[in-house]
Symmetry: C2
Subunit: 190 residues, 2 copies
DNA sequence: AAAACAGACTAACAATTGTTAGTTTACTAT
DNA sequence: ATAGTAAACTAACAATTGTTAGTCTGTTTT
């Protein structure tokens, strides 16, 4: 895997911003070109298709999620500590890629076949690992014995859609999230 | 506002299923027609544009959210009870419209101008009302004094994306959600 | 039986889509 | 200065898009 050139990364960054606002399908190559002050055809000096932009935008981030949660699962920590690390992982990635995460969440189905398969496989592994952490936490009595799927869904939903709120609300910086989000998700609000 | 005909509602239902899978922009009128076993042009005997389908899909649900949360806010209950009612509202609507909620969450930006404005106004009012409930709960000592925006975001994210899990996980029925989700969101998991 | 109508059809449109081919421009290395 | 190259350009394409016009068919209403 070659490291993408400067200009190529710029295309991905600009596209991420546009995809976030209207979705992958509604953004045209001419939209992307205009946002970069060039013509649509010029984009093809750097990328080979619209879908390639999406691949560059999504896959690297998905891989980071997968690799990091593997490491978290393999560590010797308690289940609660592992969940805290997972929350921290999502905060970190959100702060670094607030725009690209919109496509990772909403446009992944437009990935080309092989990358789509790869993405879904990573996503499944990610949820399986998270599920195992939660279930072990329940079995060990660390975590309350509610329906495991409900716990998984409730935590993942929140940390996966962080990108929607980050940057929009002024008091949503990495520090406020770090100190508040873990407590709210783990200890509740009452 | 005329009550839509039988066939019109069928178009909206079929479209909702397709929009959920690929998003509004990626679904063509020919896709919708094929799913109904007719030709694209025939759709226009019932609807006047693709955007009208989206309006019918989103606005009525948005209005139900808005009207119900108004009623909840106006009731004489405690803040925690109000939040429980809001959670229940989302469960109810999700169970009734699992497909349409995908468009309400991801395709609202493709509404025509006047309905877009109306939708955003309702969404803002909805969040304002929910924010007021949470802040009063904190002020009254009913709710822990974490950052209010974090609490709002964490609950809304979960109940707004319920549609992604409902129907996919077998143990996600209305009853399991009703008994588990409120506890997980309010009391946490440890 | 005649008339009206709902709801499907075929055919076509103008606009927009992603993309390619070939050309020009400006900088960099020889 | 010359050659080479990266990255922009113009022009065009074939396919697909939402939508309209006009027609046909069967059922319902008069």
């Amino acid at each position: 895997m070659q490291k993408p050139s400067e200009r190529k990364l710029e295309i991905v960054t600009v596209s991420a911003r546009l995809f976030k606002e209207k979705g992958y399908s509604a953004v045209t190559m001419r939209d992307i070109a205009q946002a970069m002050d060039i013509k649509a055809a010029s984009l093809y000096n750097h990328i080979k298709s619209k879908q390639e932009i999406l691949v560059l935008m999504i896959i690297a981030i998905a891989e980071e999620y997968t690799e990091t949660i593997r490491a978290i699962a393999a560590s010797g920590e308690t289940s609660v500590e592992k969940i805290e690390k997972v929350i921290q992982l999502h905060i970190d990635i959100t702060v670094r890629n607030p725009d690209a995460l919109a496509s990772l969440n909403n446009d992944w189905m437009h990935l080309p076949k092989p990358e789509l398969q790869y993405f879904l496989q990573m996503r499944e592994e990610y949820e399986d690992i998270f599920r195992a952490i939660v279930k072990k936490g329940i079995a060990d009595g660390e975590i309350a014995a509610y329906n495991a799927e409900v716990i998984i869904f409730s935590i993942l939903s929140t940390i996966r859609t962080l990108y929607l709120w980050y940057g929009k609300k002024k008091d949503f910086n990495a520090n406020v999230l770090k100190t508040n989000l873990k407590k709210v998700l783990l200890e509740g609000i009452i």
